[in-house]
Symmetry: D2
Subunit: 276 residues, 4 copies
């Protein structure tokens, strides 16, 4: 694949394992990352984080800067949201993954994040990729809505060539003619990317389907196909969520998901689900 150099797998057992707190991403366990679409307020975040902590989830997701299709939608709490994430981290010990959209924001977001997320709309935001390549934190790079696998890997190459070797790839659905689901999750991308690169690959079934009832089956499929992790939207009150409520699970629903995925993970040769 042309232009795929640093990202390319050099031998059968070549793999990059990324360490976040004590959790290995890309090793022999499936790593769950969960939390709300957006950080909404302190109560919401603390409530969700403590429930997730109890289930054993090691990494908390939550958006402070939210890319929204409409300029009139809730865009996140910004810096205030970052501070709330820091409090949640302090209280639970969970690692934080949060999105960054502007190259100029990376230096201010980096101290709050254990993993910097680059969203699908920014997969070819080259100044952002290069800025993330200069950060010291791992980067979770979502596949673009209309990005081929080659373009996605070239985006990862941008980050690596800029100096950051810790890239986690995240399949989150592509845009097709099918409109029953929000996007069409391309699970075949998991084994493809694992055969071409040494980087960990995770799956986001929440955005990949947009439908709560599909999150568990898609997660099981992703695990059976070799995904190194899952990124899932969980909310204690999905019906009140400021964004993506329709695709959010409750913590108890999410707990069941993890139990089912644990069995599939073991049946597929992994050592189960990573716990904090």
């Amino acid at each position: 694949m042309k232009g795929i150099e640093l990202v390319r797998k050099k031998s059968e057992d070549h793999k990059t394992v990324i360490l976040v707190n004590d959790i290995e991403i890309g090793a022999d366990q499936v790593v769950p990352m969960a939390g709300p679409c957006a950080v909404e307020n302190k109560e919401q975040l603390v409530e969700i984080a403590s429930e997730l902590k109890q289930i054993g989830v090691p990494i908390l997701r939550g958006g402070a800067f939210k890319p929204r299709t409409s300029p009139y939608a809730f865009m996140g709490l910004g810096t205030k949201g970052l501070e709330l994430l820091a409090e949640a981290k302090e209280e639970t010990g969970m690692a934080i993954v949060t999105e960054v959209m502007d190259p100029g924001d990376i230096s201010s977001v980096e101290p709050y994040a254990d993993i910097l997320q680059i969203g699908s709309r920014n997969m070819q935001n080259f100044p952002l990729l290069m800025a993330a390549g200069k950060a010291k934190k791992p980067v979770l790079l979502k596949r673009g809505l209309a990005a081929t696998i080659q373009e996605w890997l070239l985006a990862a190459e941008y980050i690596m060539v800029s100096g950051n070797e810790q890239v986690i790839l995240c399949e989150r659905g592509i845009r097709t003619f099918e409109n029953f689901t929000r996007n069409t999750i391309d699970l075949a991308a998991v084994p493809i990317v694992k055969s071409l690169t040494h980087l960990p690959v995770i799956v986001d079934p929440s955005h990949g389907t947009g439908i709560r009832e599909l999150v568990t089956p898609v997660s099981k499929g992703a695990v059976a196909m070799g995904a190194d992790g899952l990124l899932i939207e969980v909310h204690t009150r999905p019906e009140e969520a400021l964004c993506d409520g329709d695709q959010s699970l409750t913590p108890s629903h999410f707990k069941e998901l993890l139990e089912q995925c644990e069995k599939v993970a073991v049946a597929s040769g992994k050592k189960g689900i990573a716990k904090n």
Copy 2:
């Protein structure tokens, strides 16, 4: 979903189980169907069928009438192919699934087939759907290349409303911008269709990806997500196959696939893989 009447699931436990020989499709085992893309000659078919029989595969696939994009490609042996399938059935006891393209051919194909296949290009060939609806054999209905799930279910409705209640749905990939794979397999369609209808759903990872190395991981994903069966191209000499060699597995490779899928099936709540 508008127009979905006979196909619609009426209650949580409403499901249609289709009996082929002694095998139940849509019950608690995953049913493998395997064989060559096309029936090429007697030696080829007998060799493949006996290897599959030994592995325990209950249903043999093989095309006698092949829809080909180019009029200059091999189009199958036609009636001669049907006779070879009958011989293979006689010898191995395997059930036969084979494609029909012309409404006028159904009466001549039906005696040779245990399952009549309608291919993706014919998913909206309404005269064919109605003719298949008058047949006495189960119909395996592949999803069209650009068919929404609703259109696919409406095609099944055509068959049912014409009198045939035995319809097996088969996801085989949709056409998207991604061209690394032959098609983009839409595995989320499996739980979606299972939630909307009472019909069995199987997956064809061979056409769904077009790449041999992806057939096993996609099969595992399909099983983890609830597929009732797998339709897979197997050839003893993939490099000499007259069609679809690139996506065909050898019998020994296929045996490993079944062993891996067996574990995933059990971990996902099924009773394993059906055997003859």
Copy 3:
């Protein structure tokens, strides 16, 4: 382009002109074909046909056999519809283009049709293509919903290799993620096909957009880009039409369309719009 033999343009000025009544399709005028989606009853068809005749439209379209996504939708009047088309022809002298879906129907439809239409859902219905290849009437071959240009030309090759040299290609929109319009009309296909083949190419802006207000601008674009004809749904009472009312023009609206297209045709090097 592989497999494109009989369809291929052999020299810069190689072009096939198809004669229907006295009208040349593929020559220096743009040929309009218009009429209702479906033949509904005698009054409707006579009313529409006489209005179109007055405007000068040489070819009347109207479906007797209608491919419908749902088995519960109106499927056309069948043979009765063909007879009504024959009456309309008798009365107005207009040529008739009507669809055929079943290879077994071609012999019964052929006597009523001046042009046999193969719809987009049947573009890869190979038995139908081969049967149409044995007919003596020109074939209007619509591009499939998800067909590449190469597949479309290979479908035309099927007809030609079966013996029928009179093929008219019709771009009618492809399926994409954009859902503002019913389909995405691929107007670039017009100059592409004209550069690759010697066959006439027409455009169907009614199905290509599904929106009445877009039919005129898309028609103008098609003419400016070299289309040899236009296939347009016209109904005297669009709001009462049994199918496709939303995309149907009234005769007076259609008359304006032709006047605007006439100017664009002349500005683009054609000799205007063909009239009966």
Copy 4:
């Protein structure tokens, strides 16, 4: 259309005309913008600009900051490129349209540009849209590769709500399954956008097709369908171009294009092509 407020057409004759030098964009002439994909060096730019000046082209395009899929491709001359554009402007009097990718670059690019271009990959780069909304120069907003028309208009809304009322929309092709062309140009978007908004709409047939031979027919189609302008890649030595050579026209080929478009423009009710 939800969220479309400032961008929305309030009455039939509501339209925004944007003045660049003395040229009106969105009025009764079609405005051509042309030039190389990237500014490569002084000689190249001066040569191309003077040829375009002679033809009468009022606006020069040229990229100083180039978004490239691969990090190993030529990314433009950056600030040096902006200075060369300033020299070309000084010498020819042409207005300049050039791309900006990083919100942090807007203040440094703005003095050199008469129109700030936001490319398709950045259509949902919201910090960039908001920063462009604070600029004093008109913004040319390209449609994203996989953006619906609604998302595109919401991106324009972002710019307007941030304070900049001068937005020019540019259709440049969307990504579909068809791979004969680089993208599928969605010309129906032109009349759709003109019916929904008061903003000028232009078309980029170079990126929309990726094939030199298609640029002229697509331009004619765009003009016939109401486009307010054309953005076209022109290079004096296309075979030596550092990017997009395959889709670049020579100045003499481009001159012919304008002559043909002039006729179509007049036939479609415009007052021809704008000249410097």
